[in-house]
């Protein structure tokens, strides 16, 4: 017996396995970042003093990065839409753009980190910097993960398009859901860490 509903949807749930799986994964991710946000709030409310993020961190760089990441979310969803329209070259274009934008994001992030370190601002400096490095670091790792997955879908993985197009589209959709989630986390991180 083959495992059913890997590609086709199950009638009574309206889902395929991958779709449900990725959403469950994202639910756990919500709780992971939830734990960190909760820590942030608790530490901040309990703290004697709390620095303004904008005085330590660079708001322009982060604004730029926000735009980059949102942009990559759009290219990601366009990549999926292109597959739906059976337009492989466009898919490659958009997926390529997603990966490039993600790399830009990381490069900016690396520059930010380097800048902090060069001013002797390490996580041990203050609770604010500690949580800043931890959350953005974890988010950065998620970006790296996304880059790996997306690059795979762009280069070696794309072969599947020719053998099992629907399955491939589902995979891209799942990767997209993950990628939008990473974007979504950043949308909250940005004001919380940089602006407040």
């Amino acid at each position: 017996m083959e495992i059913p509903y890997t590609v086709e949807t199950r009638a009574d749930t309206g889902l395929n396995n991958v779709k449900l799986g990725i959403w469950l994964f994202l639910a756990s991710e919500v709780m992971l970042f939830g734990g960190l946000f909760s820590s942030y709030v608790l530490l901040r409310v309990g703290a004697m003093e709390w620095p303004a993020g904008s005085e330590i961190l660079s708001v322009p760089l982060a604004t730029f990065n926000t735009i980059v990441l949102i942009g990559s979310s759009v290219t990601m969803v366009m990549a999926w839409a292109s597959l739906k329209l059976k337009d492989l070259p466009k898919y490659k274009l958009y997926m390529g753009a997603t990966v490039v934008l993600a790399l830009v994001f990381l490069a900016v992030k690396a520059y930010e980190y380097g800048d902090k370190f060069s001013h002797d601002l390490y996580p041990s400096e203050s609770t604010f910097l500690g949580i800043y490095f931890l959350i953005t670091g974890l988010h950065g790792l998620h970006i790296v993960g996304g880059i790996i997955v997306n690059s795979f879908l762009l280069l070696p993985g794309v072969k599947m398009w020719h053998t099992a197009p629907e399955r491939f589209t589902n995979r891209v959709e799942a990767a997209g859901l993950y990628w939008h989630f990473v974007d979504l986390v950043w949308i909250f991180l940005f004001p919380v860490l940089y602006l407040l």
């Binding site: 017996m1 083959e2 495992i3 059913p4 509903y5 890997t6 199950r10 749930t13 889902l15 395929n16 396995n17 449900l20 799986g21 469950l24 994964f25 639910a27 756990s28 991710e29 709780m31 992971l32 970042f33 939830g34 734990g35 960190l36 909760s38 820590s39 608790l42 530490l43 309990g46 703290a47 004697m48 390490y122 996580p123 041990s124 400096e125 203050s126 609770t127 500690g130 949580i131 490095f133 931890l134 974890l138």
Partner: protein, 587 residues
């Protein structure tokens, strides 16, 4: 489906075909078959249980006979741990922390969820495998690596983690290196559980056989589904907490360290401003749901075995399912009942006391339903049934003693005494462990095609049942007298517990007696794998779908596509030709 010959034939053919496809490594070591993975999980977990128990048997020596060299093995423990065979307090604390960690995260959960869940759930829902076989393999190996890291941590400088399985900060932040290993090990175990829980939920939601509607699911599957949700949503905050603590230990942050700490007369050089209680919140946000992860699969097993051996449907199946779901939901909002003594105000403690009382109700309903299921039954006292029946009062005692702990005022006296130890061991050891044994005896024929020896099984049962009560019952006496837990000398120094000290040696001897009787199990287990009496596909005359496939089931599980035509426990249906009507039997 009774056409054994064709089934056997099909199976042989099937196996031959797979022998070609898969080499030894893929078939047994990097297998993606849920049954092989489940068995691997179970055996690894049993070994960890044995190891965790051995740690405790050493500790029980120190508690009963403090300051005396440990017999037989004392000399092997090394001068850093037990010079001259006499255990040091540092080592006692390591053993305590690792006993808790190993039993919970490496023993019971992997056995109950990874082992039984993996092996049984796809069979019971009529699926060919788990939804994501490769993920399943990954979660086993993450578990394995996590376990190895935990074991290796005993050899780290300063030994293994020694701040309790709860790892309360700041103690754990300033603890020796073993704590870092513990945190990394936990990260692997958490990853393993998360991958596993996604797999279970998708499998149960998506791969149910035709006709297997929600209210026709075996109770065990329901229990696994709720358990998977608990793991999925409660574990990530602990992962976050582990990252925070790793930062505190390795990067010099002070998330859990307030300003102005002085350790050994030396001011701590950190930025300060952290909150020690933050750790407790994140830890118990997981650890309370986790205790239901320990109990729900056990309840599931017990429900299966009881339905099968009473030869009648479970009483109040629907209500049991609703209670189970409600229990799972509530378990997320009671966690701070572990923190009553940390300085809680009236309002918030009232909230957590209320939720704690509320959560006891569904447990009571489930247990009552199981008791009532016995009424009007035709009870077969098979070995699995003995274990399952014993579960009921044992869980009852454990659950009932949870109530005084749940009211903050009563908890003043009982918190961190042996009463707590007694409470939770009654639920996890005489409760869950016995249920797990029931499961092993019950599904062993399905996994191996052979039955375990009944006489050895009964000896194992009675020995375990008597001695396990001998270990844990006196804990309530000691706890009510106010004896603290985590006492290296077994509380010897304190005047108010002098009258209950004599129980220490009684309990320790009971623990060793308990250990002795496990030998019957181990012998039985391994002997039966090769020598056990061969059985049919459905030796217990059970109704659920796993019994409609060959024992052991072939790769892909079902020879004919399964379907469900009725509820899970249609035993003794009036007018039916036999006293069990399999779920898959055509109408």
């Amino acid at each position: 489906m009774d056409n054994v010959a064709t089934v056997e034939h099909a199976r042989a053919e099937h196996e031959a075909e797979h022998e070609h496809e898969l080499g030894f490594w893929q078939k047994y070591v990097f297998s993606q078959d849920h049954k092989v993975i489940g068995i691997w999980y179970a055996i690894t977990a049993l070994l960890f249980l044995l190891f965790g128990f051995s740690l405790m048997m050493m500790m029980r020596w120190q508690i009963a006979y403090p300051g005396q060299p440990i017999p037989f093995i004392g000399g092997w423990l090394g001068d850093a741990n037990a010079p001259g065979g006499i255990m040091l307090p540092e080592f006692y604390n390591q053993l305590g922390a690792m006993h808790g960690t190993i039993m919970v995260f490496l023993g019971v959960v992997p056995l109950a969820v990874g082992g039984f869940g993996n092996f049984v759930v796809p069979l019971q829902i009529g699926a060919p495998d788990m939804a994501f076989p490769r993920l399943n393999m990954a979660s086993y190996w993450a578990y394995f690596v996590g376990g190895i890291i935990m074991l290796a941590s005993f050899f780290a400088p300063g030994g293994a983690a020694n701040s309790g399985w709860t790892s309360y900060t700041p103690l754990s932040v300033i603890a020796t290196q073993g704590q870092t290993w513990w945190l990394i090990g936990m990260t692997f175990l958490i990853t393993s559980s998360l991958l596993g829980s996604i797999n279970f939920i998708v499998t149960i939601v998506q791969l149910r056989a035709p006709g297997l509607t929600w209210m026709r699911l075996p109770f065990f599957v329901w229990a696994q589904l709720v358990t998977a949700f608990l793991l999925l949503l409660a574990f990530p905050p602990l992962e976050a907490a582990a990252f925070l603590q790793l930062m505190d230990r390795l990067a010099g942050t002070s998330f859990f360290l307030p300003s102005g700490l002085v350790v050994s007369g030396q001011a701590l050089e950190v930025s300060g401003g952290g909150s020690p209680l933050l750790w407790q919140h994140l830890f118990w946000f997981l650890a309370h749901p986790e205790v239901y992860v320990l109990i729900l699969p056990a309840m599931g097993i017990v429900a299966e075995v009881i339905a099968n051996n009473t030869r009648k449907p479970l009483w109040g199946y629907r209500v049991m399912v609703y209670s189970l779901v409600f229990l799972g939901f509530m378990s997320f909002i009671v966690w701070a009942h572990h923190m009553f003594m940390t300085g809680m105000g009236t309002l918030i403690s009232a909230f957590f006391q209320t939720t704690t009382m509320i959560i006891s109700i569904p447990s009571i309903i489930i247990l009552s339903a199981l008791f009532i299921s016995l009424y009007g039954a035709s009870i077969r006292f098979t070995t699995p049934m003995l274990f399952a029946l014993a579960f009921l009062p044992m869980f009852g005692i454990g659950g009932l003693t949870g109530l005084p702990l749940g009211l903050a005022v009563a908890d003043i006296h009982l918190h961190d005494t042996y009463y707590v130890i007694g409470h939770f061991h009654y639920v996890v050891a005489p409760g869950t462990l016995l249920a797990l044994f029931a499961g092993i005896y019950y599904w062993f024929p399905k996994a191996t095609g052979r039955k375990m020896n009944d006489l050895l099984g009964k000896i194992h049962f009675w020995g375990s049942f008597i001695f396990i009560n001998g270990v844990f019952m006196p804990m309530f006496i000691q706890g009510l007298a106010g004896m603290n837990r985590r006492m290296y000398e077994g509380g010897r120094a304190y005047q108010h517990v002098q009258d209950v000290l004599q129980w220490n040696s009684f309990m320790s001897w009971s623990a060793w007696g308990l250990g002795l009787f496990q030998i019957f199990f181990i012998i039985n287990f391994f002997m039966s794998i090769w020598r056990g009496e061969k059985t049919t596909n459905n030796p217990w005359e059970a109704t659920t779908l796993e019994w409609e496939t060959p024992s052991p089931p072939p790769h892909g599980n079902f020879v004919t596509p399964p379907e469900a035509n009725r509820g899970p426990y249609e035993y003794s249906v009036p007018g039916a030709p036999s006293d069990f009507t399999p779920q898959g039997q055509r109408l």
